[in-house]
């Protein structure tokens, strides 16, 4: 992601009405915005809608943004609030609950097959293992390990502390290691 100083500088200009600065700001923020939105909604199309709504809301409410503070946490708060509001009217959206130790139900494929481990390919096993993580662990792991965002960036995106991100990512990796141990045994 872009250096915060660049983002904050653009946000300050946009706040003063510089629409070109806002355009540049959107280009810098669109990728982390989609990554964050997709943690809250089931499909990429839903996440895209959420991203567009969040930028539209941010543009309208930039007058409330304090340029002395970082822009990213302010923007992602808007995005998360929109996700929560939308989830109340659309039951498909399984809004991430930012509490720890919430274990998701195993995916259907794990229950339907008598010997699912043998029948799943590698990608399916990994996906099933990810699905078994708590929403918080999954989000922290996916954003930092799979998508490559820094812990500080993921913290702003999720509205939690940077150290908390590291803890959840650490726990997620530990759980995944255990879940995928049989696969490692097969391949090495």
């Amino acid at each position: 992601m872009t250096k915060d100083s660049d983002v904050d500088g653009l946000a300050a200009l946009a706040r003063d009405g510089d629409a070109r600065a806002f355009e540049a700001l959107v280009r810098r923020m669109v990728r982390p915005a989609l990554a964050t939105a997709w943690e809250f909604v089931p499909t990429r199309e839903d996440a895209e809608d959420l991203v567009q709504d969040a930028f539209a809301r941010a543009w309208r409410e930039l007058g409330r943004y304090d340029p002395a503070r970082p822009f990213a946490p302010w923007f992602f708060t808007i995005l998360r609030n929109l996700a929560r509001n939308a989830s109340r009217s659309d039951r498909r959206w399984d809004t991430v609950s930012f509490t720890d130790d919430v274990v998701m139900d195993a995916p259907a494929i794990m229950e339907a097959e008598p010997d699912p481990v043998e029948r799943m390919d590698t990608a399916e096993r990994i996906r099933a293992a990810l699905d078994e993580l708590s929403p918080m662990q999954r989000a922290c792991f996916r954003l930092t390990v799979l998508e490559g965002f820094a812990s500080a960036e993921a913290a702003a995106m999720l509205g939690i502390g940077e150290a908390t991100v590291r803890v959840h990512a650490h726990r997620a990796r530990k759980a995944l290691r255990a879940r995928l141990a049989e696969l490692r045994g097969e391949t090495r």
């Binding site: 895209e48 996906r127 999954r138």
Partner: protein, 122 residues
């Protein structure tokens, strides 16, 4: 961000991001509640024309380049959060990422922060 990060479900195509950014800008500037000061600094028709140009350019490039845009939108990746686009080889880099990469140490301070967070949630 490299385009070959294993396990990433975000599209690789830069044109996808340009397109999404253009749509987001259009959603902001084209809204009924556009900020008054923005109208003076940025005529409404300019945003529309540039966004339309970006969308048109993306469409032309997608047609010229075959199924590049379609390729990154596999139905499975779209519909299932966490789904990966294809099967992974046993020695896939993602497996090494999951199993072998060192963790950032979970320090005592980090654990204290997590405990504080839990307290707040209660």
């Amino acid at each position: 961000m490299t385009s070959e990060r294993p396990g990433s479900r975000l599209p690789d195509d830069p044109r996808y991001w340009e397109n999404l950014a253009a749509r987001s800008v259009e959603a902001a500037f084209g809204g009924a509640h556009a900020r008054p000061e923005s109208a003076a600094a940025y005529p409404w028709w300019r945003g529309l024309s540039e966004s339309a140009f970006a969308l048109a350019a993306s469409a032309v490039l997608a047609l010229a380049g075959g199924s590049l845009l379609i390729g990154v939108r596999s139905p499975r990746a779209d519909q299932e959060p966490g789904a990966f686009a294809g099967a992974l080889a046993p020695d896939d880099p993602l497996l090494r990422t999951l199993l072998d990469a060192p963790d950032e140490p979970a320090s005592g301070a980090a654990l204290l922060e997590l405990l504080a967070l839990r307290e707040e949630e209660r």
